[in-house]
């Protein structure tokens, strides 16, 4: 049962002075070995490295370094961490791109969205910074307090004698059961996400519909292929189905101009054997990496 200290080392307590990169911790631990705690921490560190004021900083200045850090992390991240980093990175890149454009005028909705994204990023960054500063206060406070020891001496023998005799009424068996229960490893807190990722729309199923329609029409625009649905998930599923069919060379895709009409042509022949569409998109998500650690 030495797992607590390992767990503490991995999760919350100060690591030994020379952390071992081979430590079999989870991804969270590895991130911390690189000396930052998530995207906001990294961003704050980069900003302060350049001695920039966080409230005024042009984030494009630190974007490249941020991206470099992400790249340096390699393939070891789990989806959880990567997602947050990518969200921040994408926002940063957006902002950088916007600065490269000649006009700074707010003209269309895309600009507005960019401004919103920037404000949101700032807001989250500032919020995180606030808690970080509070954490420093907590740290000092806990250190100060650790120099005070409460009196926890308990009763003098003649007082302890006043206590009523202890009654243990559960019997030896009950006691053993209790011991088993108490020593049972506690279930790790976890939130079940299956329902979130459950494929409400099956790509395989939608592929069937798309194939049937294309075989009948020979050629159709994507707009036509999704005309009978206004459900985003179904549209996405049909698009994914097309990608799979394209991979199987069952369809040809043609799009004359960017964001223009996408024309799909059936190239799968007239046979009855339907092209292979995998269940790649329909499988439940991989179990969280966390589990492997236990």
């Amino acid at each position: 049962m030495g797992d607590l200290s390992a767990e503490q080392a991995a999760a919350g307590l100060a690591e030994p002075p020379a952390p071992d990169p081979e430590d079999p911790g989870d991804g969270v631990f590895k991130v911390r070995l690189s000396n930052f705690e998530g995207p906001f921490d990294l961003l704050l560190q980069l900003i302060s490295k350049h001695k920039l004021d966080v409230t005024e900083v042009a984030l494009s200045k630190v974007t490249d370094e941020f991206m470099a850090h992400i790249r340096a992390m390699g393939p070891d991240w789990d989806l959880d961490e990567t997602t947050e980093f990518l969200v921040v990175a994408a926002t940063l890149l957006d902002l950088k791109a916007a600065r490269l454009l000649p006009s700074a005028e707010v003209e269309d909705e895309a600009d507005l969205a960019l401004l919103e994204a920037r404000d949101l990023l700032f807001a989250r960054l500032l919020q995180y910074r606030a808690y970080k500063q509070i954490a420093d206060i907590f740290s000092r406070r806990l250190d100060d307090e650790a120099r005070r020891y409460p009196r926890t001496v308990g009763l003098e023998p003649h007082h302890a004698e006043l206590l009523p005799e202890v009654v243990i009424s559960i019997g030896a068996e009950g006691f053993a059961k209790l011991a088993v229960k108490a020593m049972q490893p506690k279930p790790k807190p976890q939130v079940y996400v299956d329902h979130i990722h459950a494929p409400l729309v099956s790509v395989q199923e939608q592929a069937g519909i798309v194939v049937a329609r294309l075989k009948e029409l020979g050629e159709a625009s994507f707009r036509d292929l999704v005309r009978d649905t206004d459900d985003t998930l179904t549209v996405v599923a049909r698009f994914l189905a097309l990608l799979e069919l394209y991979r199987e060379k069952a369809v040809a895709l043609d799009q004359e101009i960017a964001l223009g009409e996408l024309v799909v042509r059936w190239t799968g022949g007239d046979g009855d054997d339907a092209p292979q569409v995998t269940d790649e998109f329909d499988r439940p998500p991989e179990l969280p990496k966390e589990e492997e650690k236990a």
């Binding site: 969270v28 509070i134 100060d144 976890q190």
Partner: protein, 214 residues
């Protein structure tokens, strides 16, 4: 210790004539958690205000006399502590009981829980921008936070800080936590935005809160 008075054994001597201050000193010598003024008042059969004044005066006396101990009001109650100036001497005696320091991650997480409580793990993770499950477990294990019900809409478990947290921080209560506002320019505006589930970060709002909580 329960607050309600149990029947006192018949033979028990009266406390009404006891000098208040030494009676308090004697009692506080044997408590092993902070004793509330209400509790002491009830046990000593005096008005709470009188108890409170006596305790403050005692604390002052120890300070003035340069004693090696102090009487402090922490986590809602009074308790004897060694004075920090003499930590070096005390530490020669007690090796156990020294607690490990918290990591930066744990401190940040604790800070978010302290100010946002009751708060779900996913909310904490959202503020820090990283998954906090492991750190939250550590804080739970060390008794610094505890569960407090669930969020009605999502079923997510909510967490709050414990009394032990207050003790470790030497705080009388949560209201003694430093104000967050000075650290947070336009705090309210940011609060309002982030409360709403952060659309551009989270396409699945309002479920968003828990989407990243795996």
């Amino acid at each position: 210790m329960s607050e309600e008075t149990t029947e006192l054994p018949a033979g028990l001597r009266g406390v009404a004539d006891l000098d208040l201050k030494p009676a308090l000193e004697a009692m506080l010598m044997v408590v092993d958690e902070p004793a509330t003024e209400e509790h002491l008042a009830k046990l000593l059969e005096r008005p709470k205000r009188q108890i409170a004044r006596a305790l403050r005066e005692l604390a002052d006396e120890y300070l003035t006399q340069g004693r090696g101990f102090e009487l402090r009001f922490v986590a809602g109650g009074w308790r004897f502590y060694t004075r920090p100036e003499y930590a070096a001497a005390v530490e020669r005696l007690v090796l156990e009981g020294q607690t490990a320091r918290l990591t930066q991650a744990a401190l940040e997480t604790l800070a978010v829980v302290a100010y946002r409580q009751p708060v779900s793990r996913s909310r904490v993770s959202a503020v820090r921008g990283v998954n906090c499950d492991g750190v939250m477990r550590t804080l739970l294990q060390r008794g610094l936070i505890e569960e407090e019900g669930t969020e009605p809409e999502t079923g997510a478990i909510l967490y709050r800080t414990t009394n032990y947290f207050l003790e470790r921080m030497g705080l009388r209560g949560l209201d003694e936590l430093p104000e967050l506002a000075p650290f947070l320019p336009e705090a309210e505006a940011i609060e309002a935005e982030t409360q709403e589930g952060v659309p551009s970060f989270d396409p699945d709002a309002p479920d968003s809160e828990d989407a990243d909580d795996n």
